[in-house]
Amino acid sequence: MTRWLRRSYSVLFLLVLWEAVSRGGLVNPYFLPSATAVAGRLWGMLLTGGLAVDLGATVLRVLLAFGVAAGLGIPLGIAMGRLRTVRWLADPFVSVGFPMPKVSFLPIFILWFGYDLSKILLTTVAAVFPIVAATHAGVAGVDRSLLWVGQNLKMREGRIFLRIVLPAILPQIFNGLQIAFPVGLIVVVVTEMLTGGRGVGTVMMMGARFGDSPAVFAGLVLVAALGLASLKGLAAIRARLLRWHQETRAAEMAAA
């Protein structure tokens, strides 16, 4: 408990300072609503059910987009690493599209897919690039001697892939997923701010537009919690799936 307190005193200090500054009238509560006011707003959102609907909409969108991005991106990355034709076909699009700010394409997406679908599709597009790139790099970097062992054992291609390549690239795939999810969150929040509908981004933008700053800050708290939960969740899944891998062993050794 004391160690936890020691590790987080600057955060606690900031919270107390926030409350004091806002309560003490040092700044206009319009600019900085007190921490308790924001908590109260969150409580109110919880009671009216708005919290569940808006947070649920955002979570659903980002999970759907992330799932589609992973479902398309991992196979594409693997195919790019194993098949020359696919690499030739897809590489220019990946290398040119990756560094582009995908958000700028939102107006085109709205034009083509309407306000609802464009949120999910743009998030998918933004999340798919890191996944493809990381998977491709992983497949390209599989230790040759492992493949030779498989070939010497007369394993069939499919078996080599399942038993050697896939386990070897799993850490890289996870790197890609762990980069893609925060990107997806950034984009889903922006698209919600820009196109409305339900969602935490809309809550924040409406708050900013109508001078309802507790709503803006409540939205920020929700999005931050979402970011933190996804970060921890992905790390936990990674540790679980890669329990056999050296990286997990090394971490456990270090912790012991």
Partner: protein
């Protein structure tokens, strides 16, 4: 493999775009032809105010990005250098790191208005954490032998920093900068699309609302090309700067 063969699929896609719109396979309202978009781009660039909006966006981008690089490196080094700074900043970094940075846009609009300042601040804050974290990791990972050598040579702290710590941390700092660069363009476009009176994002939403889709496509491709060119240029510079390092950097 020559460049032409390498980028042939991309060229084919562009040709298909032009062909589909020429043959009327896709309505002009949904996808204006490539040649029309290029023509609109040339018009906007040379006879209208695309250059002005480009300048505004570039100014915001450069100000926010450079500010975050300078302050981020300073904070990262300070965190690696002093236990007290680390204990103070680490919980804050851990807490704020997972926040999707686009969520800061409405708050900064409330605080700083809809002009330059809020955009620069969004980019600065969004890029700050990647810079702090990568610098911190780089500076923490400096081979202690190098530091001992420096201390034995009685190097003053500042010299130790500029001659040993920063060069050794450079690969990490540069890869942090590359991440920050990508983040900065996303935040630039998002904040300008949301609310602004100038800048490429503003131009895109203005043209879109006016129904000038060919011009809107031209403006969008300008932003996308800018992000792409910035990344390529940075990558090129990174390889040059890291040339002294052994092995592939």
């Amino acid at each position: 493999m020559s460049l032409l063969v390498r980028y042939l699929p991309l060229l084919l896609a562009l040709a298909a775009w032009e062909g589909a719109s020429r043959l009327g396979l896709i309505s002009q309202g949904l996808l204006p032809g490539l040649s029309e978009v290029v023509e609109r781009w040339a018009y906007l660039m040379f006879s209208s105010d695309l250059l002005y909006h480009l300048g505004v966006s570039l100014y915001r981008e450069a100000a926010g990005f450079l500010l975050s690089v300078v302050i981020g490196i300073a904070l990262g080094v300070a965190m690696a250098w002093s236990l007290r700074v680390r204990e103070c900043l680490e919980p804050l970094v851990t807490l704020t790191y997972p926040v999707p940075k686009s969520a800061l846009i409405p708050i900064l609009i409330v605080w700083l208005g809809i002009g330059h300042t809020s955009k620069v601040a969004v980019i600065f804050l969004g890029c700050l954490l990647p810079m702090v974290i990568s610098t911190y990791h780089g500076a923490r990972g400096v081979d202690p032998h190098l530091l001992w050598v420096g201390r034995n040579l009685r190097m003053p702290a500042l010299r130790l920093l500029t001659r040993i710590v920063l060069p050794a941390a450079l690969p990490d700092i540069l890869s942090g900068m590359r991440i920050a660069l990508a983040v900065s363009f996303v935040l630039l476009v998002s904040s300008e699309l949301l609310i602004a009176r100038a800048g490429l994002g503003f131009l895109i939403s203005f043209l879109g609302e006016a129904g000038e889709y060919a011009s809107m496509f031209a403006a969008i491709l300008t932003v996308a090309g800018l992000g792409f060119a910035a990344d390529r240029a940075f990558q090129y510079g990174m390889h040059r700067v890291l040339r002294w390092q052994q092995g592939p950097a």
